[in-house]
Symmetry: C2
Subunit: 361 residues, 2 copies
């Protein structure tokens, strides 16, 4: 509070008569803590936090360090954003969507169900003003700021003990899936469950649950789910991409000198690019190994996708009626989605279509 | 040469008894020149060089500045890499593929014909060691180092005055297209031509050429080609992505202190991510405007694509027989392409397929 008053008055150490060398003002020693919601054994996700931290340290000759903590070391996995809001830690690496209990609009920085793919989501957030708008209308209210730190790309639909042949098969399905996608499955009669990563395997093995979704081949392989659920469904319509975020305490961020703020932004954007490249390099080999181990690949039937799309649209409309911020962001994303897919089908999609057909020969 | 000897001996200024303050060693004032191969009116491409330069300056409080020059201001557009090799400028922003006259393997940092899409190309370059290998086996020989600075995404196939209905229609076609794609069209009987951007419109209007390719809707619109060639073909099979590169003089790079080298790397990776997002934000609206102005969208016929694919494969094999470096990089990229598309069809492609069908309703 005292600090804020000083800043408002525009007073600098020099104006206050403090004899600080110029270097101390622009290149202070700063140590931040970053709590991760993702465990160390997920080298893809945890690795992104490490990459980011190393970039910041290297760019400042070690003057600005960000120490990465595993979930539970200082903050539980799902409380990372709240701890950052309260200033208990300066920053965290988490799914913004973990905070939808506080406000459903926290979903949008992570994903739009049946929404934008990775590139479209980045275009919306960075180049169509979405990220700035979310910071202004949502994150600031919670004393934080948010930027992408990694994108997973389109995710898989998860591991199922039995085949899904119709919408009827969703009824009563005990499915380990959280967030707004869980709400959609519930509307279709499923029983969504939130289970921590380490407990998914035994739950699926014992039949306590019928299905579980996680991320994609490389990360899923680590959980061993292919040993207890033979059917691997696609696409994960609820995550055309999953963006995991760097969330920083707003006041701590604003206390940084301009060069450090710039380095945080640049390192976050660079990590996003390299993290997705890592997934794209690792997933193809993991998929081969899973298929070799007996995994049965299955597309969700069109009728199932249609029912999920319809329920998702209804849900978005209900949240939009309840909250003007949700309504504005959803409308912008849905409008861009329509335009972006008209372009995509001529470019990337037309190119990929030919390649897929041709490389099968 | 003298400098290299000092470095080899492991001597630092301190060891040599020079009383330099620590700050002068790690935070020197450095000014670089960067010559761009792309003109200022292409705000997408030229903008990427500006973004990169600003990131570097902001991260160093203006101690490390990189001044961006338009093509021809100090170096002609197509001589940017050579000028950087010779140390006339410290760095350039260019298509590596402009140097295929020197060595065809310069193509691989930009694109593989019928090759990898944007994400796959980044995965190969950054996460499967492709970029390091190219630097070691190719760029170093020319006294430079190279990294991605922006990716355009899949490009369009270009503007045609008449429809292409069969492989026969390619014969005698005067097509403004350069590089290895020009070689492929030549093998199929076309007459490829290299014409500078500013001259394409009058050439197409007068009928001196029959067709011209450039980039995609947003950049193409600036050239006004839709006014003189009604058919806009897709996909641009020769550019599933186009990566434009930051190329730096190797010795100048190695003279930078470690923090500055790190900042160059990080800013380049960040710019790549944001530049593609910019294309993905701008192209959908530009496509709408082009269609409203009367542009006729046309897919290349399957038989035409097949003939182009076959000739491309033969060309790669010929170059591979002539050069072991070309052979090694091509083999790695082609192997990854096969695996990457097996994964892509379940993930991004399956997701996009549904979205495209659904959003048409």
């Amino acid at each position: 509070m005292k600090r804020r008053m000083i800043l408002t008055a525009g007073a600098t150490p020099a104006a206050l008569g403090i004899a600080a060398p110029a270097i101390a003002q622009t290149r202070p020693k700063v140590s931040w803590r970053l709590t991760s919601s993702f465990p160390r054994n997920l080298d893809t996700l945890y690795g992104a936090a490490n990459t980011f931290s190393k970039m910041v340290s290297d760019a400042t000759d070690g003057d600005f360090t960000i120490r990465v903590f595993s979930p539970g070391e200082i903050v539980p996995a799902l409380e990372a954003r709240e701890a950052t809001s309260k200033g208990f830690v300066e920053s965290c690496f988490t799914a913004s969507s973990y905070s939808i209990g506080t406000d459903p609009a926290f979903m949008f920085a992570t994903v739009l169900l049946f929404g934008l793919n990775s590139r479209q989501q980045m275009a919306y957030l960075y180049e169509l003003g979405g990220n700035d708008k979310l910071n202004r209308l949502l994150y600031q209210k919670h004393d934080v700021l948010c930027w992408p730190l990694i994108s997973t790309g389109a995710q898989m639909g998860g591991w199922f003990r039995k085949e899904i042949r119709s919408v009827e098969d969703l009824k009563g399905l005990k499915f380990r899936i959280g967030g707004l996608a869980g709400h959609v499955f519930q509307r279709l009669g499923s029983v969504p469950q939130q289970i921590a990563a380490g407990d998914i395997y035994p739950s699926l093995e014992r039949g306590t649950i019928d299905a579980a979704e996680w991320i994609g081949p490389y990360d899923d392989e680590k959980l061993g789910l292919y040993k207890v659920a033979p059917y691997y469904y696609y696409p994960g319509w609820w995550e055309g991409t999953g963006i995991l975020s760097l969330i920083v305490n707003k006041q701590k961020y604003e206390e940084l000198p301009p060069a450090y703020r710039s380095i945080v932004q640049t390192a976050a954007a660079a990590t996003t690019s390299l993290g997705l490249a890592r997934y794209d390099a690792l997933n193809p080999q993991a998929l081969k190994r899973l298929v070799a181990a007996g995994t049965q690949l299955r597309p969700f039937p069109q009728a199932v996708l249609d029912a999920c799309f319809d329920e998702t649209t209804k849900m978005h409309e209900e949240y939009s009626r309840a909250d003007p911020v949700y309504a504005e962001i959803y409308r912008e994303m849905a409008t861009f989605r329509q335009d972006a897919y008209q372009w995509l089908q001529l470019s990337e999609y037309a190119f990929d279509s030919y390649q897929i057909r041709r490389l099968r020969r």
